[in-house]
């Protein structure tokens, strides 16, 4: 295409409006729905709080105030202090950084793996299916918790990426089985046939037609996985695996806080409250995304 032709094409694009591709339409619909907007705003606020918040506090999460053990919130310590004299505001935000990243990433990775593995084995069947199903079944029977516990020494400082991958690795199998089943029935639909006869390569059919048509399921799954990942991380950390001290996460904080929650509620309720708000925001986003993807949900 020569330059002038390209310019001409550009001009003609103009009178059709901007190319109304799926991505743009979905994004537009997502931000037009109040739930999506609220959820997105709240989650953005949480991120802002987690990463910018610590800058406004005099205390860092490693600091100990030896003049204030287990004190209620005050002007000095906004969320109060722990038994060790650590500032609750500082450690909570530090924990939130870890949990937000671990939770969201683990959920996204596990859902993505589930979608890809399920769709590939359902679409190609045959040997692809047999190999992928074998891996899925193997991971299903492995005791996830035990393996994570054994591997926990590896999750030292800065190794949170490995932790995310391991968490995700044990979350995707059931969803991928569902995706596989749905793909098999979807494959017979005429629009998939149409794309095939058009000459669209199989991998692109999977990403363009199969997975978007399973988006309702996948988004619900991802939303649930966020909570599941945060909770798995919490329970691992509770038992002393997972995030290692001096680093903290929502899990270690809740584990510690639950012991003192009765007589020093600030050690527990701030963390718990933020966890609830995060999960709620993720659910709102999930609902709004599902509606935005589903052309039938508008009316």
């Amino acid at each position: 295409m020569t330059l002038s032709e390209e310019e001409l094409a550009e001009e003609l694009t103009g009178d059709l409006g901007r190319a109304p591709s799926r991505l743009r339409v979905v994004a537009g619909r997502f931000f037009r729905s109040p739930q999506g907007l609220v959820g997105f705003a709240v989650l953005a606020l949480m991120f802002l709080l987690a990463f910018v918040g610590p800058l406004f506090s005099r205390w860092s999460y490693t600091d100990k105030d030896f003049t204030a053990f287990l004190q209620p919130p005050s002007a000095q310590h906004w969320f109060g202090t722990l038994q060790t004299g650590a500032d609750v505001y500082a450690v909570t935000l530090r924990g939130m950084q870890k949990s937000l990243i671990v939770g969201l990433l683990a959920a996204l990775v596990s859902t993505a793996v589930a979608a890809v593995v399920g769709a590939f084995s359902g679409y190609f069947l045959g040997w692809t299916d047999r190999a992928l199903s074998w891996i899925t079944d193997l991971l299903l029977v492995l005791p996830a918790f035990l393996i994570l516990a054994i591997m926990s020494p590896l999750f030292g400082a800065g190794q949170w990426v490995l932790f995310v991958i391991m968490l995700a690795l044990f979350l995707w199998m059931v969803t991928s089985k569902i995706v596989r089943g749905m793909t098999i029935s979807l494959k017979e639909r005429e629009y998939i046939q149409a794309a095939r006869f058009m000459g669209v390569p199989p991998v692109r059919i999977i990403f363009r037609h199969v997975i978007p048509n399973l988006s309702s399921l996948l988004i619900v799954d991802a939303t649930l996985n966020v909570s599941a990942a945060i909770l798995t991380e919490t329970s691992l950390s509770y038992f002393g695996f997972g995030i290692q001290p001096p680093d903290v996460s929502f899990g270690t904080l809740i584990a510690d806080g639950s012991r003192t929650a009765v007589y020093a509620p600030w050690t527990f309720w701030f963390v718990a409250g933020l966890l609830v708000v995060t999960v709620l925001a993720v659910n709102l986003i999930g609902d709004a995304l599902r509606d935005a993807f589903d052309p039938a949900a508008r009316r």
């Binding site: 003609l12 000459g199 692109r204």
Partner: protein
């Protein structure tokens, strides 16, 4: 035939609404014993809701007002217990889908016996005997054995016969048939209609025939009621409706259907626009926005039914000026010049064979048989030509189609697409051929990805074949098929069926293909919409120089659009040739039967037509008969041929041999005959 003094069923001013949606708005009719009333309308016109309201079968959320009187007894608002006494005894019903209307876990005989015992005090044994009698009456061979079979062992046509047997089990006064033959093939439809006529003679019942097929009604009904947007718009004797219609909608409907008895290529007259949604009706006459005769007064108020003749009423303020739009039979048919076939062959299929294994067992699959779906099919398509591939379900036309579209080496035989043999294609060549051969599917909803915008759907083939900026072409394509380019951001579900099919056609045309494979492209559309799509296909072919492989079961549509036609039966081609030759003088007994089975929307001709009825169902493609595949159902084999001649049919499978210039038939005793 005038309605007798005391009608069996009288419906007056029936209204049905679901919430705010008024599905039926003031339907009135009456039927007398022995009378057949046809109710005709497109989908969404309220015809099925009307009959469900008569039977009291609507969900509780529906609000029914008006009056339905059966032998003078009011049914609207009657207690359920009373309605149960009527249902099945005085009024019975035949549904569209015979598979879901029978309980799969009970024997057929028991189900009929149950229908008898619900309303009559007879012993189990007597009911069973009666069931066998009824099965015999509706023409089920060896009824006493078949009564012990389960529904899944019956074919669609046989199941519908069983439904009719159940409907007449208690000698009803009214039989309501809701699209009884829509799900069936033409030859089976002809059989079932014969059975219905016989059932009516036996019981003397009144029949209410609900259908969208104007042909079925023409030969069967005495009176016709045309419904549009929940209201009757024209009522009258069948001849009045077909020859002296006074409502533009009826005239438009009749002008928009392609007819199997009409050659030549005068364009069909589609009705503009789409039927209104019952939730948003226009202020005046509901048909006004689509009406060619519309004047300002039409928008003022909904017209009542005017008396326009004896027993003939039409809801149009301009009824005096309405004239039939359609010319008479062959009126516009100028002598067709013998078509010269193009030079360049775009598709050549030679001796194509495709078998499917029948497997059994869950863990270790073993082969227990072979389904011979396609058993040696040969045809070719030249540039600019349209080949119609017709056949009933199970004839192998879809398998043939997929074999061509897959572009993989065939099991046996040869497929050459645009000069390239599919057996010797590598990856890059296959992609190149795909670019030149595109497909349009039957169901316009299923063939468009519901999660993609129209823009993305149309851009997909362009992007696949390396066009980076598809926006301009997408706009062009939408304009080409008569849609507004500004609608590109919408999803397929925001469009009506006809518009969706246009999007499907636009997608197929995106890459400027040379061969278009059309798989029943109009059979899922309403009559008034269908004509528009057919016209579009015709004009696109002429403008863009396309070749079509047009697969359909509707022979009238094929006659209209195709240059040549191939009739398939049980995996083989029975007859192939130039359209007017095959339709005008079919040589194969199967083609003759197929053509004579199609009902014409022409009451006078329907009454005098002789049908060639085929016996029984299509044999299983797993065990085709020896020799000629058609001989088990062939009327000629049964009654015309001598034993010596039959030996040839049993022993030797006939090849397609020429019987005329461009017409060949696979019959040892082919003989050309006018049957339409």
């Amino acid at each position: 035939m005038r309605p007798a003094a005391n009608p069996v069923l009288e419906v007056s001013d029936l209204h049905v609404s679901f919430g705010d949606v008024r599905a039926v708005r003031g339907v009135s009719y009456s039927v007398s014993p022995g009378e057949v009333l046809g109710i005709v309308g497109e989908s969404g016109s309220g015809k099925s809701v009307t009959s469900a309201a008569v039977m009291g079968l609507l969900p509780p959320s529906a609000r029914v007002t008006g009056s339905v009187r059966l032998h003078g007894k009011e049914l609207v608002g009657a207690p359920e217990r009373e309605l149960t006494r009527f249902r099945g005894k005085t009024v019975s019903m035949v549904f569209q889908d015979p598979l879901s209307a029978l309980t799969p876990v009970y024997r057929v005989g028991d189900q009929i016996a149950e229908a008898v015992r619900v309303h009559q005090r007879v012993s189990k044994e007597n009911a069973a005997v009666k069931a066998v009698e009824l099965l015999e009456l509706v023409g089920i061979p060896s009824p006493s054995e078949r009564a012990l079979a389960f529904p899944h062992e019956f074919s669609g046509g046989m199941r519908q016969r069983v439904m009719i047997a159940m409907a007449i089990a208690n000698d009803p006064d009214v039989i309501i048939c809701d699209e009884p033959t829509t799900a069936l093939d033409v030859t089976i439809q002809a059989q079932v209609l014969e059975v219905l006529k016989k059932a009516q003679r036996e019981t003397g019942a009144a029949i209410i025939m609900i259908t969208h097929d104007l042909g079925v009604v023409a030969g069967f009904a005495d009176r016709v009621l045309v419904m549009y947007a929940g209201r009757p718009v024209e009522v009258g004797d069948v001849d009045d409706i077909y020859y002296r219609m006074r409502m533009p909608y009826t005239a438009g409907l009749l002008a928009s259907i392609p007819r199997v008895d009409r050659g030549g290529r005068q364009p069909l007259v589609p009705i503009a626009g789409n039927p209104p949604s019952p939730a948003a009706l226009p202020p005046g006459c509901p048909f006004a926005p689509r009406c060619p005769l519309k004047i300002d007064a039409c928008d003022e108020a909904e017209p009542p039914l005017f008396d326009v003749g004896v027993g003939h009423r039409a809801a149009c303020i301009r009824w005096e000026v309405v004239r039939p739009e359609a010319p008479g039979r062959h009126a516009a048919l100028e002598p067709v010049a013998p078509a010269v076939r193009g030079e360049q062959t775009v598709l050549e299929v030679d001796g194509l064979v495709k078998d499917f294994p029948l497997l059994k067992g869950a863990l270790f699959k073993r082969r227990v048989g072979t389904v011979h779906a396609v058993a040696g099919v040969s045809f070719d398509i030249r540039r600019g030509e349209t080949l119609g591939l017709v056949g009933e379900s199970g004839s192998g036309k879809t398998t043939t189609l997929t074999q061509i579209l897959e572009l993989v080496p065939p099991q046996e035989g040869r497929v050459v697409v645009l000069g390239r043999d599919t057996a010797r294609l590598d990856g890059a060549e296959r992609t190149a051929v795909r670019r030149d051969m595109q497909v349009v599917f039957q169901d316009p909803m299923a063939s468009l990805d519901p999660r993609m915008t129209v823009y993305d759907i149309l851009a997909e083939p362009l992007r696949t074949h390396g066009q980076r900026r598809p926006a301009r072409r997408v706009g062009e394509l939408l304009a080409l098929v008569g849609l507004d380019p500004a609608h590109a951001a919408r999803y397929p579900q925001d469009f009506s069926g006809g518009q969706r099919q246009r999007i499907g056609i636009a997608r197929a045309l995106a890459l400027e293909p040379r061969l278009l494979v059309l798989d029943e492209p109009v059979s899922a559309l309403d009559v008034s919409i269908q004509a528009g799509v057919i016209n579009l296909l015709g004009s696109l072919r002429d403008r863009l120089g396309l070749s079509y492989l047009f697969v359909a079961h509707d022979l009238a549509v094929v006659r209209y659009i195709a240059d040549r036609v191939a009739v398939m039966y049980l995996g083989r081609i029975a007859e192939i040739g130039q359209v007017d030759a095959v339709y005008g003088a079919p040589a194969h007994p199967y083609t003759q039967a197929l053509l004579s089975a199609i009902p014409l929307p022409d009451p006078a001709r329907e009454r005098v037509r002789e049908r060639i009825l085929l016996e029984g169902d299509l044999p299983s493609p797993a065990h085709p008969p020896t020799g000629c595949r058609f001989r088990t159902r062939c009327p000629k084999f049964r009654s015309v041929l001598t034993d010596d001649e039959r030996a040839l049919c049993v022993g030797v499978e006939p090849e397609v041999l020429p019987v005329a210039d461009d017409q060949g038939a696979a019959c040892h005793y082919a003989e050309r005959l006018d049957v339409v």
